[in-house]
């Protein structure tokens, strides 16, 4: 069975992508893997992996209302029912601000003249690429678009199907920052979440919130402290917090300017094998690997007789909905 590991952080810029690329590099030496960049509004993994694009697909992300000026009688009902302040009176007809419109279609249903139609919008692109560590599924959400969670779910599903299809042992998911909708989408169905945290007051604060989020959705946590020597006392505080919560601390990565140099060169930092930071990441991977494959990686299993990824694009994106709590009532 293909396992799935998501790299998260809560706070942005703590080193998720650097760690994801490093673990992908190390894991790919032991087993076949698939990579996913689930930070679809600021995707950076491709900058380190030099991917060769194999497939490109449009992502239809949602819809916006359009008002036909010839049919509009300027009655104003559309603007009245809009809760997003997206409909405004124009000279001859009402107009919709596509950036403010959330596509709820309330105006579409209320317009007495049937002057409004809903138009599907392309909100981004998603790709399958080849990299030296394995196939990469990644995406670009267009500027100022909604539905990043839906696009995250899509690339994740594609990566997982590819993993199952080819018998990959592991899918490594580089997650988005924060704790909201794209993070929830990235965490759904993961076997393990690795939280990358820096030893700062904000890092500690945000770790508590991201860990509460993954706990809420039933994904077990591991913690990795990045730039641990920047503030050893705070790193110890994080270690104590982890011990208290029964969460394994899988490593302390030292601060090292080679991390930025590696980024500029477009290489994983683990390629600099002689550096302490690379050594620390190697130890981290062996601990993560031991947790995710307690009996050792079985790379043969699950390779055959699974559906190909071709049909996957038509899969419903409501996967997450089934596990969401609902308020139920009835006679």
């Amino acid at each position: 069975m293909t396992k799935q590991l998501v790299i998260l952080s809560g706070k942005g810029g703590t080193g998720k992508t650097t760690v994801a690329a490093a673990l992908a590099h190390l894991a790919s030496q032991d087993m076949p893997i698939v990579l996913t960049d689930a930070d679809v509004d600021a995707a950076n993994l491709e900058l380190v992996l030099d991917p060769a694009k194999q497939e490109e697909h449009a992502f239809m992300g949602g819809q916006v209302a359009l008002i036909d000026p010839d049919k509009c009688t300027t009655c104003g009902i559309c603007a009245e029912v809009c809760r997003f302040d997206a409909v405004h009176a124009g000279d001859e007809a009402y107009r919709v601000d596509p950036l403010a419109c959330e596509g709820c279609a309330s105006c579409f249903y209320q317009c007495p003249e049937e002057a409004i139609r809903m138009e599907e919008q392309q909100a981004g692109l998603w790709f399958r690429s080849d990299t030296r560590f394995g196939p990469l599924f990644h995406a670009h959400l267009f500027a100022a678009q909604e539905n990043s969670g839906k696009l995250v779910t899509l690339v994740k599903q594609q990566a997982r199907l590819r993993g199952l299809d080819t018998g990959a042992a592991l899918v490594v998911v580089d997650g988005p920052p924060g704790i909201g909708c794209p993070v929830i989408s990235a965490s759904a169905g993961m076997d393990l979440a690795l939280h990358v945290v820096e030893p700062t007051v904000s890092g500690v604060h945000d770790l508590e919130r991201i860990m509460a989020t993954t706990d809420h959705f039933g994904v077990p946590s591991l913690v990795l402290i990045n730039k641990a020597d920047l503030n050893p006392a705070r790193a110890d505080e994080i270690a104590a917090f982890c011990a208290e919560r029964g969460v394994e601390l899988v490593g302390r990565i030292p601060y090292d300017t080679v991390v930025t140099e590696a980024m500029v060169q477009g290489r994983p930092v683990t390629a600099y094998t002689e550096r302490p930071v690379a050594q620390a990441l190697k130890e981290t991977w062996s601990r993560v690997s031991a947790r995710i494959f307690p009996d050792g990686a079985d790379v043969e299993e699950g390779a055959a007789s699974l559906p190909s990824t071709e049909g996957a694009a038509s899969l419903p994106s409501t996967e997450g909905a089934a596990s969401l709590p609902s308020r139920e009532g009835g006679r």
Binding site: S9, G10, K11, G12, G13, T14, D39, D41, A42, N44, L47, Q63, V81, L99, A100, E102, C104, A105, S106, Y109, L141, A143, A144, Q145, E146, S148, P176, P177, G178, I179, G180, C181, I184, E198, P199, T200, V201, S202, H205, D206, R209, I210, T213, H216, F217, L230, N231, R234, T257, T260, M263, V264, A321, L324, P325, S326, R327, E328, G329, R331
Partner: protein, 315 residues
Amino acid sequence: MIITVASGKGGTGKTTVAVSLALSLPPDRQDPAGTSTDEAPSQGRRPSAGPANPLYLDCDVEEPNAALFLRPTIEERREVGQMIPEVDFEKCTYCGRCAEVCQYHAIAVVGEKVLVFPELCHACGSCSLNCPTEAIHEVLDVIGTIERGWAGPVEFAQGTMNVGEPMAVPIIRQLKQWVIPPDPGDRPVILDASPGTACPVVESMRDAGFVLMVTEPTPFGLHDLRLAVQVARDELRLPVGVVVNRDGVGDQGVDEYCATEGIPILMRIPLDRRIAEVYSDGGTLLEALPEYREQFRDMYAAIVRLVAEWKGEDA
């Protein structure tokens, strides 16, 4: 003057810059030492909501951090949420019209049951408008809190999303409505945005007069800066400027990009381990490097000029 501090990439120093800017602007008499502006105001001497007292909004409601540095005294707190449907089963005929009009699959009718999924609901009200038997009314579903108070001379407000909730935008929207006066005039209003370029960032930039991008001179920083500029300048038609943080690491990409695009670089903060160490314990940039206070004031003056120029060109 509303300034949104954004970045695209996370961890580039948005909060550091926004906090330092807010603390630099009040006149010296309130802070002769230049390092103690984060102390609580003394009893009875409450600052006014005037130009000398910046208003700070932490709009990163998923991971709000500014309070760790500003250490405000919170005076008022509200729960916020959105109006979600509740079905009156005395009136419901299970016709399914609500589920049919809902674009988010947030309400489902299964036999003689109606399921509401609050996490999927956008609170558009379409289900209740379309219900033929008026069986749906709306109730508040709490998704977070908003708070306001003072941090020395700086008026402070923040939103905090409850863990497990997906939607940040309604919290940011209500935070802004609650604390930003209809016409802030020349009072500095500083919004600290979340990373990324998706809907929460757009909501934090909407209605701003200027977007200040904090970036680092690395390939990741540049890549995400481009995307954030697309949102602010190209989509929302707002003037932008850049602060280069950790100047000296990485490469020349950000400088070249800004020169090509005609985007002004308004400040450079060097890569300095002292700043990182002070920050890691909750200290501000002004505590590490007090001489930056003057630079932040100059930057604010430059922003005021850029906005005036932008308006002139627009007219």
